[in-house]
């Protein structure tokens, strides 16, 4: 804060050659809010500088200014000591600044090479693609960005598509690469690959600006950290090795964040959900679940750990009646619900927080009211002989709005205008308000900021205390360990093992064991390995 004000009084007209990029007093306004309020930011050559902040703190806006997408209302930018004004991303790229956005900008029907060459002056007319394929393959090898230059983009995974975006910037001679939440779309092993690439780039003298709201990632990769909160700098260029996660979290949200949840000891009741030998196919017709079994009791949270794409999604769909299984049995409170409709489960108290909030969990153009009555509109008092009792529905929506802190002007607002955290509160409010006997929650905190995550965790723990059976699927191991009573580990459609989580802090061995199971070693073998190691 102090540094910000100082630089306002004496804006340095001459850039400091010590820095590769210097931004001074950047102001960017959007109708009704100041996204960047006199922000200073700088990057040194050969460093990874993390830009940390909650959703909506102004990180992306600031970087969009640097990448030439937005024009600031005030402020000065120096690149390599010279003042610059960018009126388009092309100007920024010419100055050596490239940005990889959260949503990729690729042409699915074209090859990797074609995508990289798109929009460049050379080659002019005759595409000598073979030659360029070779150049791009070499460039990729240099930075550990392995991708087949002749593959069509639509055939590639999200991680590979991200590599193309990075290659695109490297090919254009970028010295400063801005990565906007690059890990949000990646699986854990892909994140490791990305980090290796970023380190290789830094080793070649390039600088990276890493936008994130995830503390552990920032601590793992960054040299320096700048924290933004509500459009203002709260910590400028801290040495990442000299600070702590608690300190950064405090700067991010402006208060202490509880990393340790207050999980009360709870004696689980009878088995609510029992899944036995379930087999099912995924959307492509491949076997996704290969005879998987697990159970969840009343009043406990059972975590399902695993790398994304090992059958979690399919399992959630089979349990909630949205996918047919071709073997095995699902029972809810002793009643078989295998291969019945989604409605069958809903009427028997199955609640489901789907992975995809916008495409599955809500109807974007319908109002908050319409979205919260989704599971209730069939029942009295909202249903009145086939008609909807709108006053009752509105009252219900307002009650949930207050109880669950959904921040909207009115319940008539369409939910597409809600932020991620608010949208998730709408979904949780709807699912929890029906007093479910089973709650299946898939990635309930993905993409949410620290404050919102805390809220979701509390809601889940409240449900546990009120006796619901909760099956929690998450890629965040830390989240699973802090919330769950037991954790199952899934790998390629099978359960590798089950571990009990006590009240105490999980030990390093426990985490190691789960990690081994996540990569395909059954629990029995992990234990044998341990015995051998000890002997």
């Amino acid at each position: 804060m102090n540094t910000t004000q100082q630089s306002n009084v004496t804006p340095s007209v001459q850039g400091d050659a010590h820095f590769l990029v210097e931004m001074h007093g950047i102001v960017k306004r959007f109708p009704g809010l100041i996204a960047n309020d006199h922000v200073d930011f700088n990057v040194k050559p050969g460093e990874i500088h993390a830009l940390l902040g909650e959703n909506g703190a102004g990180k992306s806006t600031l970087m969009n200014v640097l990448a030439g997408l937005y024009q600031p209302e005030a402020g000065i930018i120096h690149v390599k000591g010279k003042p610059v004004t960018f009126s388009s991303p092309r100007d920024a790229i010419e100055a050596g600044i490239g940005m990889v956005h959260q949503h990729f900008m690729l042409v699915p029907s074209q090859t990797v090479t074609e995508n990289i060459l798109l929009g460049l002056d050379k080659p002019r007319f005759r595409l000598n693609l073979r030659e360029y394929d070779r150049v791009i393959a070499e460039l990729g090898e240099r930075f550990g960005l392995i991708v087949d230059p002749r593959a069509k983009v639509w055939q590639l995974s999200v991680g590979e598509q991200q590599r193309i975006e990075i290659l695109k910037m490297l090919y254009r001679g970028t010295d400063i690469l801005i990565m906007d939440e690059p890990t949000a779309v990646l699986a854990p092993q892909e994140i490791d690959d990305l980090f290796k690439t970023l380190r290789a780039m830094v080793a070649e003298g390039k600088s990276i600006i890493f936008i994130s709201h995830k503390l552990q990632e920032v601590m793992a990769i960054a040299d320096r950290v700048t924290v933004l909160r509500k459009g203002k700098i709260t910590a400028a260029g801290l040495d990442a090795h000299q600070t702590t996660r608690q300190e950064l979290a405090k700067q991010m949200v402006g208060r202490e964040v509880l990393f340790h949840l207050d999980k009360k000891p709870n004696e689980p009741g009878q088995v609510v959900l029992s899944v036995k030998d379930i087999c099912a196919e995924n959307d492509k017709g491949l076997r996704a679940l290969k005879g998987l079994s697990l159970d969840v009791r009343a009043g406990e949270i059972v975590g399902l750990a695993g790398v994304a794409g090992n059958g979690q999604r399919e399992l959630a769909q089979v349990i909630t009646g949205m996918r047919k299984c071709n073997g095995g049995q699902v029972t809810l409170n002793g009643e078989t619900i295998t291969n019945h409709s989604a409605l069958f489960g809903i009427l028997r108290g199955v609640a489901y927080v789907p992975e995809d909030r916008t495409h599955v969990g809500t109807a974007p153009n319908l109002s908050v009211t319409d979205n919260v009555i989704m599971k209730q509109y069939r029942n009295s008092p909202i249903d009145r002989h086939g008609f909807l009792n709108m006053p009752v529905a509105t009252k219900f929506a307002n009650k949930l709005k207050d109880e669950y802190d959904i921040i909207v002007p009115t319940v008539e607002t369409p939910v597409r205008l809600l932020s991620g955290g608010n949208l998730q509160r709408v979904i949780l409010a709807r699912e929890i308000s029906g007093h479910p006997s089973l709650l299946v929650a898939v990635q309930p905190t993905r993409g949410l900021d620290v404050g919102a995550i805390e809220g979701v965790h509390r809601l889940l723990l409240d449900q546990r205390e009120s006796g619901a059976a909760i099956l929690l699927m998450s890629e965040e191991l830390e989240e699973l360990l802090s919330l769950s009573d037991r954790v199952f580990v899934i790998y390629e459609g099978l359960i590798m093992g089950e571990v009990k989580i006590g009240q105490a802090e999980p030990t390093y061995e426990l985490i190691e064991t789960i990690g081994q199971m996540m990569t395909g070693t059954p629990l029995a073998q992990v234990r044998i390995g341990e015995v051998e190691k000890n002997a």
Binding site: V27, Q71, L343, A363, P409
Partner: protein, 379 residues
């Protein structure tokens, strides 16, 4: 772009005002869409006026003439309403299907099959000749709705079960419908070799205002028939279904996000078939109303006059709101009627087109807003 650059400098010495388009971040107030549509129509009329002036006409006189020819007297107003009636019913048919993002382009064919179904009731001697109208007409309505519903069921079923694109199948069904009634008019029901059926008997005619001229002399010559009432009642019922019923809620949910609907436990397959049938039945009712209220026989050209296609446009312009469809239908009825007054084709159709383009373009201002920025003010 250049002015963006200049805003980086502390003071910009340019014109005192700048206009800037900004995306709308919150919902506009309720009155805004209505005002916007009126604004668009005014702009369209100004553009149309310029064109008329270029064509050598007097725009003011032309517009005055159009207004007189559609709303100028009680007689022409009645004719406008007669034209609006079939459009209203087909636009309701499209509204309910479009609401579920079922692109039923087959309202025309469903309208024709509705006319056929109603005509079949009137022409096939199932009732003794002296049967009162209050029995014949409801049965004709059922016949019309059945004809339309069948024509909606086919693409709906194909869509639901086999994922056949309903745009193509419903469009193609239109041509089958025309060929179907042509067969009957040319052969089975041909009257004395003419390509039309015989005139319906009196008990198959919708009551018209002029039928009551003996008691209320004011109604003399007014051809507005009971179909208008039918259309308005249908609009109210469809409004209730869409916004206030459980079924309508399911339709809106499926239309907005089919994944969410499935997640909520809604049967999309069944609703696809049912909504297409309801849509077809509404268009079919329009066909029935046209033969019972205006044509009084089955004949191709006045029945297959494109009301089903106009219904698509009206449904869009009324933003799929059944009550707004009543007003927009009357506007289109007026344009069709008055257009013929000033020129058989050409300028009137062009004005219709300009109005359409302006209305559709005005949608842009639903998503963006213009902001006036004074010099010196930080943008």
């Amino acid at each position: 772009m250049p002015e963006m650059k200049s805003s980086l400098k502390p003071m910009s010495r340019r014109s005192p005002f700048r206009l800037r388009l900004e995306p709308r971040l919150n919902e506009p107030p309720r009155w805004y869409p209505i005002a916007l549509s009126f604004g668009a129509i005014v702009v369209a009329l100004i553009i149309g006026g310029i064109v008329i002036a270029f064509a050598g006409g007097d725009p003011f006189r032309s517009y005055a003439h159009i207004a007189r020819a559609s709303f100028g007297s009680i007689g022409v107003l009645s004719d406008t309403l007669v034209k609006a009636t079939p459009i209203l019913l087909t636009s309701l048919a499209c509204s309910i299907a479009f609401r579920m993002k079922l692109w039923n382009i087959g309202a025309e064919g469903q309208f024709i099959m509705g006319a056929f179904g109603a005509s079949a009731v009137a022409l096939i001697p199932i009732f003794p000749p002296e049967t009162p109208a209050w029995i014949v007409l409801p049965v004709m309505m059922l016949g019309g709705m059945a004809g339309g519903a069948l024509w909606g069921f086919i693409p709906g079923f194909l869509k639901a079960k086999l994922k056949v694109n309903e745009i193509i199948s419903s469009l193609m069904m239109n041509y089958i419908a025309i060929a179907w009634i042509n067969y009957f008019i040319f052969a089975v029901w041909s009257e004395g070799g003419f390509q039309m059926s015989r005139m319906f008997t009196d008990n198959a005619w919708f009551p018209r205002l002029l039928d009551y001229a003996k008691t209320v002399p004011f109604f003399r010559g007014l051809t507005t028939h009971a179909g208008l009432l039918l259309g308005v009642v249908a609009a109210l019922i469809i409004w209730l279904i869409i916004y206030r019923s459980r079924w309508g809620y399911e339709i809106r949910l499926i239309g907005d996000n089919p994944n969410a609907a499935q997640y909520t436990g809604i049967n999309i397959t069944r609703n696809t078939v049912l909504v297409m049938m309801l849509s077809g039945a509404l268009a079919g009712l329009g066909g029935m109303s046209e033969v019972a209220g205006v044509v009084h026989r089955l004949q191709t050209s006045p029945v297959a006059a494109g009301y089903g296609f106009t219904g698509i446009i009206v449904a869009w312009l009324s933003k799929l709101n059944p009550l707004a469809a009543i007003l927009v239908s009357i506007l289109f009825g007026a344009l069709i009627l008055a257009g013929r007054e000033i020129q058989p084709s050409g300028i009137p159709k062009m004005i219709q087109g300009i109005i359409l383009v302006c209305l559709i373009a005005s949608d842009f201002l639903m998503r963006y807003k213009l902001r006036i920025i004074r010099a010196g003010e930080e943008a």
